[in-house]
Amino acid sequence: MKTDLNQIDQKYQYGFKDKIKPVYTTGAGLNENVVRKISAEKHEPQWMLAIRLRAFHIYQRMPMPNFGPDLSHLNLNKIHYFQRDSDHVSRSWDDVPDTIKNTFQKIGVPQAERKYLAGAEAQYESEAVYTNLKSDLKKMGIIFMDTDSALKKHPDLVKQYFGKLVGAATNKFTALNTAVWSGGTFIYVPKGVHATVPLQSFFRINAGNTGQFERTLIIVDEGASINYVEGCTAPTYSEDSLHAAVVEVFVKKDAFCRYTTIQNWSHNVYSLETKRAVADAHARMEWIDGNLGSKITMKYPSVDLNGPYASGSMLSIAFAKHGVYQDTGAIMRHHAPYTSSNVISKSICKDGGVCNYRGKEKIEPNSKHSKSHVECDTIIMDDQSTTDTIPANIVRNGDSTMEHEARVSKISENDLYYLMSRGLSEKQATKMIIMGFIEPFSKQLPMEYAVELNKLIDLQM
């Protein structure tokens, strides 16, 4: 991908904060009453309240993670677990409050994008405020809405899949999310349907101390395919904020799903996400995951390869600058014969940033003739930064193959010298090398995201 060098000095236009008064909030802190209030405020069915309460009790019992970054500064009692800034879910663009429209404008949703936006779902604060189905998606039978609405309109589907992949007891933050979840995306693609345009969702954290606990549920039925794109930008403010999302993706027989995320939280956000997908026979699941911001990220998207010939892939980049701790990786679990997985992870750290790869590839005894390939590359730009690579490669049968490669180095002095001898400044040359380094990732992105990524990398350098 070509890099436009003229744009290097552009200011970051996404770092701003709108003044919004939430219409409804449960206040700071969490107890059983808050959970009940959230459920009542949303007029949820009894079974969902039961799930929430059960998860809340698990949450109280569970310990914090005993590995990776230090989470002791995260004060879970100061977080607003639920707030709503507009009373109803808007159906058309005109109904969307102006302040929120402003935000989207500043995020830089291009003019041309507006028509796509009719089919995209935008999330603001803890709940979707704008939902509109593009008519052709509707004709195809694709359900694309926020999870709260889906719970009202398609309760059977939600009940069938909700929490079936990521149980409340998976870790402390999945328990928390299950107890207080709000918003998120729900997608159902019926059998044999191919979504022709990528489905996109913009969402962002705005008010300080806002917990975002999205619950995303994607079901791609047999033979269907979908490309879901999710991008986040967040304004900069001082108090700590938590983003603990849960994403569950069900990819049925012969189906395909690609889930693309670019995360650029501001540097006070704890991003502690759990993403898990299951792929049935001949299905393919792809995670494309960019982590550019936040204070601490702990994210290990996983794929359970449950049917023969299923395949999973993870393509990720992580960029850590001063004060940023990126602890990311991928988990691939092979449970069926002839399954394959592929992980490519690229990390860059500078100015004292920390980039860790923590992954796991597990080939179970019943998963004969399976293949797994992992590559982790890290560029470490100065001696203040650190990086750890901590993979686990487990093969439990004799018929499978597993390959793992990793490399850590600084920017090659030869490459720099060559580019500078052609008249580029050191800054330009460095940037060019970094762009080349992450190219395998950026070329998989839709065009506008690739452009956005370029700008974000610019700003980070």
């Binding site: 890290t378 470490i380 690579t389 490669n393 093969v395 004799g398 193959t401 597993m402 490399r407 600084k410």
Partner: protein, 393 residues
Amino acid sequence: MTILDQIERYSKANHEPQWLYEKRRVAWQIQKDLKQPRLNNVRPVDWNLNHEQIHWHHQVDFKNYASDEEQKQGIVKMDLLAAASQYSNLMQENLMEKGVMWNQYRFAAQHLACLQSGVFLFIPSNTVCSKPIDLSDILSHGDLEKHILVIVGANSEATLEFKDRATAKEHGHLMVEILLGDNAHVKYYDAAKSQNRKSHRMLYAYLAQNASLKTYVALLNYHDALYNSQINLDGDGSEAEIHIINLGTNVQHQSICTHIINRGSNTRGLIKERGVVDGHARTHCYTNGEIVKGAKDTSSDQISRLLTLSKQSRGEIDPILLIKDNDIVASHAASIGKLDPNQLYYLKSRGLDDQTADSILIRGFLEPLLTHFPDRKMRQSMVDLLEERLDER
């Protein structure tokens, strides 16, 4: 009689120097408050020995077992506890103080407290040993806690050899500590084909400036084993290489932990492993390359390969890089795979039975590493050992 009393009686009976007795006593008193090292998923083979069962029978022997020629060069090879009396100052400074700290982990404290026997090898500065020195021949059998301490002075060169042929009755920890002075170069050959029910072996090394340590290890044990090798590259310009071949059969469960820490500038670490897993065996390789802050112009590389021969065999590799500086090159490569069915088919079509064809391919897999072991005689003895082990498979 408590263990402390036993330690006291044993220590007094052998006329151990006061510092050693004191250290043992303190070590036993603090051991229960210390932690065991945390190894990811590694099943420790008996970290906790039953020290109540120790037979404190070892008699201290003051003979210098180095050959006449070596003695002329000033080389000392003798019983570890005898050396503690005879070379008291040297031992006090070095025994479990540099390669591994006696008060760092519980097993280390227990090891020192209950130390029963061992070997002490001292090679003075500016000495080139022409012949390999065997460390295993005077090691007593049957003791629970054994220790080998090797000190090599500046500018010296040596080849060391260790043969582990432990019998089924033996059981316990063996810790090898190698301390190298400036510009000392040591090659260490370790051929293990032990009948031991549970073998737990450790190697700790400390390298001063420009020193180099190359270990060549063949782990061909019959039963469960934990092999742990940790090399500290403390001096600037020091180099370490670890080469390991390994074979696991039947229901063996083996863990091989290798750890190289680059502390000095211009240091270089390399870990190369090749292992074969057959039957219902499991092999777990835990390789760790660590570069501390300030270690400039360093490299740390790891290559681990496991061949899973049977359908039920299992392999695990955890290749870890912990990098705290940027003027470095670090990499790891790991693979776990099966035999190429085409090659097997070809060999069988030439009339070889399964067993023979397998053996040829195993040799073909291990030899790329084995053939680079520099000493011809030592290499040949390892190849012979491998053949023997393959025949008994």
